[in-house]
């Protein structure tokens, strides 16, 4: 057979798929590359670390080797008061830096130049750890947010910075976002108010530069529950969040959200074993009208998953 259909066909299929991939993958990449990171983008990046989800530094996806976000009201080195309090992102020695730091081009042409030249971001070293912050600077008459390396600029070390922040002001944001991913919260909640009437209820839709360097973005596609991109602006009560996670029906009787009581772990804040069976029995009595009040929920331990999750919500989802 001299004429082989499959040879001509393979070339035609390859050519058509190639053109299609040029249009749908290569051309958009030019647009994505020129996007300048916003404050939201830089904040998410610095507080999440390199990758949320499976990675070399966190193979079991438990939120290991993530940066810690702290809210500082005094200078860790000089002890001077900082007013208003500022956010600092603490990378302890060995914790991999965020994509914005490792690959500055991720943050856009102007922001990356500001971060490198003014913020001295390039001087940070993963082996020694670093503390980052976000500052605002002017280029050609326009304001830009950029990353500054506070270890190089002010001499703040990770250990000093963590010590200067109280436990209340220490937020395990990176670990909390990891819990959000592994527990599948994003199968029902979205992080994407739509560009329709949606934003009047759920807040402003995200901007172009809000995602630079984020991985994974986890918008969510199937909304069985409210959008939570700005949930902490609507409700900032830690107590409400705690009750809602332990059993959503405590605060919202018609909710279909699963109970996340298992995120409390084995022991509570005082090191006592949590008696889930007793709680369930008492809760059943409450539902049956035998008890007037529902049982108290246990206080969670400082290193529990639920603490990190609530930290992330109250810090990042504003």
């Amino acid at each position: 057979m001299s004429f082989q259909q499959h040879k001509l066909g393979a070339a035609a299929i390859g050519g058509m798929l190639g053109i299609s991939m040029c249009i749908t993958l290569m051309f958009p990449s030019f647009d994505f590359r020129s996007a300048e990171s916003t404050w939201v983008g830089l904040d998410k990046n610095l507080s999440n670390g390199r990758v949320i989800g499976f990675s070399y530094e966190d193979p079991l996806v438990i939120g290991a080797n993530k940066p810690i976000t702290v809210i500082l009201d005094k200078d860790p080195k000089t002890g001077e008061k900082i007013d208003p309090p500022m956010r600092a992102y603490v990378y302890e020695p060995g914790v991999p830096f965020a994509p914005a730091v490792r690959h500055p081009a991720n943050t856009g042409p102007t922001v990356s130049q500001l971060s490198l030249n003014v913020g001295r971001m390039g001087e940070a070293s993963e082996a020694e750890g670093a503390v980052f912050g976000i500052n605002r600077g002017e280029v050609n008459g326009k304001d830009w947010d950029y990353i500054e390396n506070l270890t190089a600029l002010k001499g703040w070390t990770p250990a000093d910075t963590l010590r200067a922040a109280t436990d209340e002001n220490t937020r395990y944001v990176g670990k909390g976002k990891t819990v959000y991913i592994t527990e599948g919260c994003w199968w029902c909640h979205t992080l994407l108010p739509e560009q329709t009437q949606d934003w009047q209820v759920f807040g402003a839709p995200p901007m172009l530069g809000d995602f630079n360097g984020e991985m994974p973005t986890a918008f969510g596609s199937d909304r069985k529950a409210p959008d939570i991109l700005h949930v902490a602006s609507r409700n900032s009560s830690r107590e409400w969040m705690d009750m809602h996670f332990f059993n959503p029906r405590l605060v919202q009787p018609n909710s279909i959200m699963p109970r996340f009581d298992y995120l409390w772990g084995e022991t509570d804040a005082h090191g006592n074993k949590i008696d889930f069976d007793k709680w369930r029995t008492e809760y059943k009595e409450y539902r049956a009208g035998i008890r007037i009040y529902p049982p108290e929920i246990p206080e969670y331990a400082g290193d529990s998953e639920v603490r990190a999750l609530v930290d992330w919500i109250l810090t990042s989802l504003k």
């Binding site: 958009p28 527990e183 995602f211 973005t217 918008f219 279909i256």
Partner: protein, 469 residues
Amino acid sequence: MLIKYLFAKNEDIPAGSSSVFFGFSAIFWFVVGTGLGSFNAAKLAFPDWVTGSEMFAFGHMRQVHVLAVILGWISMAFAMTMMYMTPALGNTKLWSEKLGLWNAFLWNVGLSIGLFLLWMGITSGREYSDLIWPVDIIIFFGVLLPLGINVWMTIAHRRTQGIYITNWFFGACVFMIMVVFAVGQSPELFNLTGLTEAYMTFWFAHNVLGLWITPVAAAIAYYTIPKLTGNPLYSHRIGHLHFWSIIAFYSTPASHHLMSAPLPEWLKSFASVEGVLILIPAVAFVANILLTMKGKWSMFVENIETKFSITGVLLAIPLNMQGGFQQTRAINWYIHGTGWIVAHAHLALLGMSTFLEIAAVYFGLQQILRRKLYSLALANFHYWFVLIGFCIYWISMTIAGLIQGAGKIYEVPYIDVVVAEHPYMIARWVGGTMVFTGNLVWLYNMYMTAREGTVVPAGRYAHEMAYER
């Protein structure tokens, strides 16, 4: 068992062995996938049903359901049909039965590892690309590449002048799924982030449907319907219109999944227009198959394989009418992210493609095993339970989606939408459980066919023989 042939010489392996391995694996994963689906649906209707353990939390099981049906049931059923249709249409033998058996074996192993890890929460956090990259590598080299090699080599070694339309689809789709899979998973390997990652997640999610699931399912119908009815395909040229319009148009509209994300506007508009063009291949396909049925419509009632097949083809009509228009901005703003989309996704996977595959698996396993189907009654039970279960699911989720959409645009407090949806969530669970029950019966029926079905004499088709039960 077929495992014993893994280390046999290729010549010693009976023809069709890999097809049988794939076929029973596919049915098994179908039972697993729909069982998980039913359990998940129960949790949405009754949130306090099974609690207290992360292993039975909705968030740990939802992605396992999705990937068990896509990679387990649907893709394995595709492999099953490719292993027997490709050589039959080339008038030749499968290039390597041994490679096919290893392919089926590695597929089961890789998928089990991946789903176990997902269930434990070890995920990449990217929808449809949830499997972590080491598992992605197993899938690419253990699942997709051997499948492609076997299909291409069989087509290249065919003993016919032309290539039938089914083989055009098979050969092209296994190539495109490899490209789509490799590109779609690349953000994890190369740390591509931000909107690039979000867009590539849905570039993969769209193309796995548009370039793999729906076209291969359609290709299967191009084989089964002429084979069952004895009519030649109405028009091979219309088949080519279908094929080339899929390649040209349907590899482009991925960003219509992210109409409300801050992607470039030109990209969204382009995707929206290209998305409407799905109507060209869709009309070509449905018309071609329905015209092939001319004079044989009684088989739609009398023959179980034709019944499944034609139901799948008919379900392609609402599927593509929805698919073509729901991604335009005018409709998308109302239904985006609602239960409507869930209903549409199940119409594509559980409706159109599953019905076409079930027919091909029924037909193929009887032909290869040379056994008549064990029980027509059980097969009819299967048909009606899957069809009615699916319809309950589809209709209830469509209504729920419209309620959600109205709630969205009229700013109804979300909890009121949850309350309004509750009856439909229960209906969804009932429908899903019916599908699961039907599939359990199918697994039993197929197992009994292999063991006790009447032997089909040489030179005869199983569907020409009378049923005994």
